[in-house]
Symmetry: D2
């Protein structure tokens, strides 16, 4: 059979940065605390294509994913990103004409949590991986492993809370009474979706649940599936005693990272993004940032 992919391009002898397959779904076996978990994951995998070659051998990508899946079924990997790192490395083995492989993947992830003892149930989160493998001029392959997670929580607006306090105090002068100091006031609150990702060098491992803990701690409150009447009031109180702009979610999350991850070296890149689905607007409020652990360890003096 004619190998059309290996032929020269008809026109446009340009290299292409990425050619691959996207949205391919696979079950991946991951071992956690001795238990075999199966994650339904969606993968996008790609390699670069040199200028002299018409097409990329895409069936190799699908074969490779299938092999990794079978391999984890027999011997569950220790983490989602370990599977993705293996895929990125193997892409460069199977596409000898390529020098850059990228794998980005995400999977739903359930953790058993509750606002109080006896209220635990599975909450759903997302785990993310963004791995790159690069073959240098010397043929050596270097790997960058992006490991991330996303959690949906809640924010309560600190600005509207202050303005409402002023308004209501004008209407109800008793609210100025010193005994009411610290009384949380009405404001608007919203569903907040926050994502955190580290670009780790080889040899340093991070547990996705620790990323999720850091995110949930930075929101006004985590959210839960099971809330009886008293729990609901407790969650609302917690959130209103911890009001946050998206900017606060971002900075509180960033400010916590050095203490939460003391062993991560300074050069590790950190990417953060947060979206609040505003209850008072039809649009969202969003913030994103990219920094390093080194910068996080030296906040601005300005």
């Amino acid at each position: 059979m004619k190998d059309v992919h290996a032929m020269a391009p008809t026109r446009g002898r340009y290299e292409l940065r990425q050619v691959g397959i996207t949205g391919i779904r696979k079950p991946i076996h991951v071992i956690r605390d001795g238990i075999d978990h199966v994650l339904s994951a969606s993968f996008s995998v790609a390699v670069d294509l040199p200028a002299h070659r018409k097409g990329s051998d895409l069936s190799r990508n699908a074969e490779l994913l299938a092999e990794i899946v079978d391999w984890t079924a027999q011997k569950p990997v220790e983490s989602f990103e370990a599977a993705c790192a293996k895929i990125a490395e193997e892409l460069l083995v199977r596409h000898q004409y390529a020098n850059d492989a990228t794998v980005s993947a995400e999977a739903e992830f359930f953790l058993r949590k509750g606002i109080a003892p006896g209220r635990e149930s599975f909450e759903d989160f997302t785990i993310l991986a963004e791995t790159r493998a690069h073959r240098g001029a010397d043929g050596q392959v270097t790997l960058t492993r992006g490991i991330g997670a996303e959690a949906v929580g809640m924010t309560a607006c600190p600005c509207a809370m202050e303005t409402c306090r002023e308004r209501l105090t004008a209407e109800y002068p008793l609210l100025a009474d010193p005994s009411l100091k610290g009384l949380p006031m009405i404001t608007h609150n919203q569903r907040n979706r926050t994502r955190l990702l580290f670009e780790l060098p080889p040899g340093i491992e991070v547990d996705a649940t620790h990323l999720l803990e850091a995110i949930e701690h930075a929101q006004s409150s985590p959210t839960y599936a099971i809330l009886k009447r008293g729990d609901e009031a407790q969650l609302v109180l917690n959130a209103h005693r911890n009001p946050k702009f998206v900017e606060d979610v971002m900075r509180d999350l960033l400010a916590d990272l050095p203490a939460r991850f003391p062993k991560i070296p300074d050069h590790v890149v950190v990417r953060v993004g947060t979206v609040s689905e505003e209850s008072i607007h039809k649009y969202n409020v969003e913030s994103s940032h990219e920094t390093t652990f080194g910068e996080l360890r030296r906040p601005s003096e300005s």
Copy 2:
């Protein structure tokens, strides 16, 4: 050229209820208050297919939509559903083998609104049409015109408000002071999406903006693009003085309809649905109902 569609089916001589095209997008010219508005609409149009015929002549559907678009460009229609009614009728003219035509369509719709004078800007809503044409045994065509709208607003939970009031009053006894009666307390609030649709007989017209007014009035508060600090506090106050479950949004909306639309006859069907994107949960709360104007005019005594 061989007309494959008109041949007999190879197997399975069954009629099919609906065969059509979906997700076809077109610009429709609608005249409102003397101004020509262009709506970017998405259409799904279908007819039934008798058992003796292999395929439906789908290119006629696309041609018909193109003609209606050109027709409205030269002579804007008085309403979105007028265009859809015209399409449904014409589908039965062009598919002589069919007896049932359905058209469902939706379009984004901008209305200039603001929380206060000087704060007006365009808010985005959705208008909906669901038209059916039926050819009876006598060849007469009857038309049912579903006309609807959807608005995004805000709800504040009445239950958590009461529980928080109890909790906070235990902590701050001064809150029980009679002078604080009526003080709105903290609760959770969320983005709410509510949809209202009437199935109208010919000759009765309803303006989509009146549907949107009814919906926004039933939510804890409408939402706005432009809110300066004082406006934001005002909107938060309004919503917290008007706390609603999704059930309240539904019933308040339904209860208002007889007075808002006094001329609509009893047999007209009403469909309502509402979704609250909960800030305290990762999932949504939803309610839906179908009734008639007659039933709405006679609420339960139970």
Copy 3:
């Protein structure tokens, strides 16, 4: 704590058909061929609300789902719809004021398949459940279990194939040579998504994989993740020797059901829908139908 939900509605003493929670995600353990599978499922669960009651006790829905999940973790259910039937029944136990419960759920489902030996890998499908429980005037609860599945496959258009044959034969007269009879000609082909659902009475079980087999058999060809060059040609040939309109997919699927499911009684309702994402248009072609096994066993003579 005040039970706000149990109070009377402020306005609009109307019953509401459905009040519930939607989009709640949970891991469900299902046993198949002796193996414990975990499905990531999305649930929508609702009950009706009588006119005298302000709100539905929604926290019970979330608690119930959590209990069912834990229950399947300890003792995997024999099927996805068994879990959904259990949920529907329990909803009426926990909402004593309600008479109608609905559960709709879907989950991703992986099956190991390949176009040829040695090419097997996991293909992703969707399984569906739509269960209703109704409490009659005598207090007896009846259950309707909708069990369904969806598969993505491929269609090749039979009409364009004939028209292209005519065109090309005019250009290449040799194509009329009798030795070329049966040569498949070019046409357009597309991604096709087909869904099949039965509303089963209690006591009759259907395996979702049998629904998927029926669907894939009705498309021009199933699709596969791993296709080496020769496999790809084989799949293209298969599809072009089996060209289908969406109408053909529908009818071939329907016509096969009586022989594939001989034990299912006549009164069982069948719902089918198919969408082809046309390669020659920006819009989709879609067909849907609802019938019974009884009607399928008596195709039209017309």
Copy 4:
């Protein structure tokens, strides 16, 4: 009223790269060939936030968008990206603490096209803008205007066509007859979505319709809403006489740009991406690249 946004952050004195609002929808008036078109656009606008400031004044973003909309209603802009450039510049005027503003926006765009005279109708496309404004140390603001477009067309696979030709020739030896040279053979084809964006310096204008023409020319064939039987065969023939991998779509598009846009300077950045929704797989095939006009004018010799 207390200006909470202007206060210092409680923790984490880090600057943030982007804080803004996303998914805000507005009608924008654009003049083309003397006709006033209204585009339904979705905007995301953001600025950076210095380390010393708690929050970004987001209401200014919504106000600004409203003003630009009103301004275009009175005096339609000459292009979509002109509106976006104006927004980016004004963001830096209204957020004096910020140095970087980003605007990304997209809108649906209808063009009247047909496969043959008498078959014209509106086809829907997307136009894109990604504008950045940067305030340098000297206070001077520089602008980068990304202008782009996306078109949905069709691809036919060149590899499966060759493999099918070999297979079918083995089965039908007459196919090897010289008189059948050039006969297009069966293959798989798919919906293809391709996006092209230039980062233009001030003073250079590009018409989005010229981007769309370049994209449609690079696909195996454009697609059309109205195709009568003969047109459909023509489109299928055109696509099969012009088979393309996604890699070919990319390179043919890139290779055409120097001749199509001779006046664009070498340093202008070009971003291209294409996705084919494979009919033979459940997943997509995708390619992306970033280059400059200078590189495009010097294809690789390798």
